[in-house]
């Protein structure tokens, strides 16, 4: 394990230490649970974005895809808008819709050869549009017991949503480590042209990665719906940049080819601890964003400086 890999972990420990020293409220067990619960959705979303970043692409479609899946699931499980009561099947369908939207970004990337930055931006707008269409002016509130129970029921002190996130991270890690899809995503970030020379057609894998990322965002949207008890078009607002930030802070390289799901998860915890700690320490709400930005830059700088070389390329 190189410093690059352990750096974010050290940063996490240091920040936890500082907050624990500053705030008695931070050191409680219930706050630890709180942090884990708060990190759940971001962890799932970041899992998805990590695979895209590993390929060296970028994904800004999170808000749209999460919004579409949040509304879809709210309309498919028992709710106040219609008589649907599909339960878990509804959840699966919502994730399917999300995966479809993710697939769309991937297809636009490989078929139209438009950079992912733009295709995902476009798909995000499409997703929000679809969500607004389905929303049709009346908030769908869910009354499905299972889904709303996810946010409330606890097992070993953590809510079901948190366990879902843990499962997602595990699945993500397995995909990254043990499947062709995951390894090829990694390889595409490392040397895409080599894959072509080895007779690998990378296009289906790229589409598959975007589809999988879409599915993760979809699950994220479902989780937000479960937390809020209602389907919101804005369910994914802000998750695009916070997920990318978390992944990068965790050591996943924007240029691709390095990092992974576990790295990103450390990043997610780091970002969540920061948000939580700043509120507990009592930093003015005005300053919180700024302090967070500063710490993110500092964390990356601390991880980068030891490896600084002359003539190094930084984009």
């Amino acid at each position: 394990m190189s410093f690059r890999d352990t750096g974010p972990l050290i940063a996490l420990v240091v920040i936890v230490g500082i907050f624990a020293a500053l705030s008695p409220g931070f050191r409680t067990l219930s706050n630890a649970q709180n942090i884990m619960d708060a990190a759940a959705v971001l962890a799932v979303v970041t899992c998805g974005v990590t695979f895209v970043l590993m390929m060296g692409s970028i994904d800004l479609s999170t808000p749209g895809i999460m919004g579409a899946s949040a509304i879809t699931v709210a309309l498919l499980v028992a709710n106040n808008r219609n008589d649907n009561e599909l339960g878990l099947l509804g959840v699966a369908l919502a994730i399917l819709v999300a995966a479809g939207l993710g697939c769309l970004s991937g297809l636009a990337l490989v078929l139209l050869k438009v950079p992912s930055f733009m295709t995902t931006l476009g798909v995000s707008a499409v997703g929000l549009g679809v969500a607004t269409l389905l929303f049709a002016g009346v908030q769908p509130n869910i009354s499905d017991g299972t889904l709303s129970g996810w946010a409330v029921d606890r097992f070993l002190g953590l809510s079901t949503l948190t366990w879902i996130a843990v499962a997602c991270v595990l699945v993500g890690w397995m995909v990254q480590r043990y499947t062709r899809l995951g390894r090829y995503a990694f390889a595409i970030g490392g040397a895409e042209e080599v894959l072509a020379l080895s007779g690998v057609n990378v296009k289906p894998y790229k589409v598959a990665v975007f589809t999988m990322a879409g599915a993760f965002y979809g699950l994220g949207g479902v989780m937000v719906t479960s937390q809020l008890g209602a389907g919101l078009v804005q369910a994914g607002r802000g998750y695009d940049f916070s997920a990318i930030t978390a992944a990068v802070v965790g050591g996943t390289l924007l240029a691709g080819g390095r990092g992974g799901v576990l790295h990103s998860t450390v990043g997610v915890l780091l970002v969540t601890v920061l948000t939580n700690g700043l509120v507990l320490v009592g930093v003015s709400p005005y300053w919180q964003g700024g302090v967070q930005g500063l710490i993110v830059v500092a964390a990356v700088a601390a991880a980068v400086i030891p490896q600084r070389r002359r003539n190094q390329v930084t984009k």
Binding site: Y178, T179, R183, A187, V194, L195, S198, G257, R258, R310
Partner: protein, 518 residues
Amino acid sequence: MNMQIEPEQRATAPVTALEVRGLVKHYPGVKALDGVDLVVRQHEVVGLAGENGAGKSTLLKALVGLVRPDDGEIWVRGEKVRLRSVVDAADHGIGMVFQEQSLVPNLTVAENIVLGSEGLGVRRGVYRWDAMRRLAQEQLDKIGSRIDPLARTDTLTFADRQMVEIAKVLRIEERTSHPPVIILDEPTSVLESKEIDALFTQVRRLREFASVVFVSHRLDEVLDVCDRVAVLRGGQSVGELPTADAAPDQLHRMMIGSTGSDDHYHGAAVEPPAEPREPRLVVRGLCGRTFRDVDLDVHAGEIVGIVGVHGSGREDVCRALFGAEPTTAGEVTLDGEELDLSGTRAACAAGVGYVPAERKTEGMVGPMSVADNMTLTKQEARCSGPLVRPRKQAKLVDTWIQRLSIRTPHRGTPIQRLSGGNQQKVVLARWLVSGDVRLLLLDHPTRGLDIGARSEVYRLMRELASSGVATVLLADSLEEAIGMSDRIVVMNDGRATTEVDAPVGDKPTPLDLVKEMV
């Protein structure tokens, strides 16, 4: 090794494994292939020689399905084939080790070896690392390599990676029941001599169960390892030679179509300065990441070669002198004045020039024009005051295009469309346009160049030396170092251990140097 070979196959008379008939390929404005013929028999190593631009790479690409010929036929074991992709070629038993290494740096060796045809290593999209490691080990065993299949590829040395490439290409054996045809494109261009020997051993091993097409710009190597050499010129086959009775000269003449000079290294000997003057470059006790206590003197008009194996630290010394690699201690003076090593700008301003080894990624900016590449460094060459004077720039660039006989359609052509030798001349010209360069650091200036282009670069180096420029040369081969240098410094494990004078007429032999290097 060679467990797959059935004895009777080896015993039978030479069977044609691969045949190319009248291959034609046009690119806009260029006829890259203009009726090329080639025959490769089983268990034969065929050399392919030709200057850059003779059509070698296009022919190779056509053989592995990366380029679709406009006309002509490719026959594999008596069957006419159409190769649409690398996979197609592999199915017909043709595989290639690419010039630019084609391994994914952040994957393991095992993955790289099985990449694209994982077979049992992947079941329904899920990796089975054990099976994958076994598969890779089988391949590595074929070439007798001891590389750990689960090592990350970017932790390997260059030579090891080359071995992995060969192991990887041998996978095609599993796609065909026949002995495969392995193409090695410039495999030696970045290897040190010891590593080259190891590679040649591999090539001879390969011959036992495969056919090999070997491409190198080093004619001595081609003659050494091949059974037969086919020569291309201007996109046409101009003939072939059995290597048994061929000399480099003969081959060279075929390649360039005339009688070249016998010794392309030394055009005219430079008179050594009558009395010893102060050296232009004085390096004392230079330390850095990969080198320690390096001392070095270079006089004006002198070419000093630094030789050493991989890891000797000579590249880093070179970069350090240009300010592109940090130093921790040491003094460097240029013409008596202290040389600022804090960055490339300072070095450049002091009259130091550097030609990097990685031309494509570090030497030139591919999509930019010849003119812009040539004038990227010295602003005074194209500006008056802060403004660019297009006419001044054009005039100057055209002058240098002519002086160095750079073959380019126009000064505005993107440099990436030029051949390697012409690209390198542009990169060199960059330091010459302002006429104030005092020290030139040349890191493998002839890497990947054909003989014609090389001798032009040599001529240029000589001219510069005779005009008083001090040159530090990291040569592509020992012979080149010996041929070009007036003095040779041997580096070993980060230290400059020995210094050997190499005046014209009293050159050391490669053997002398190798002894010092290891």
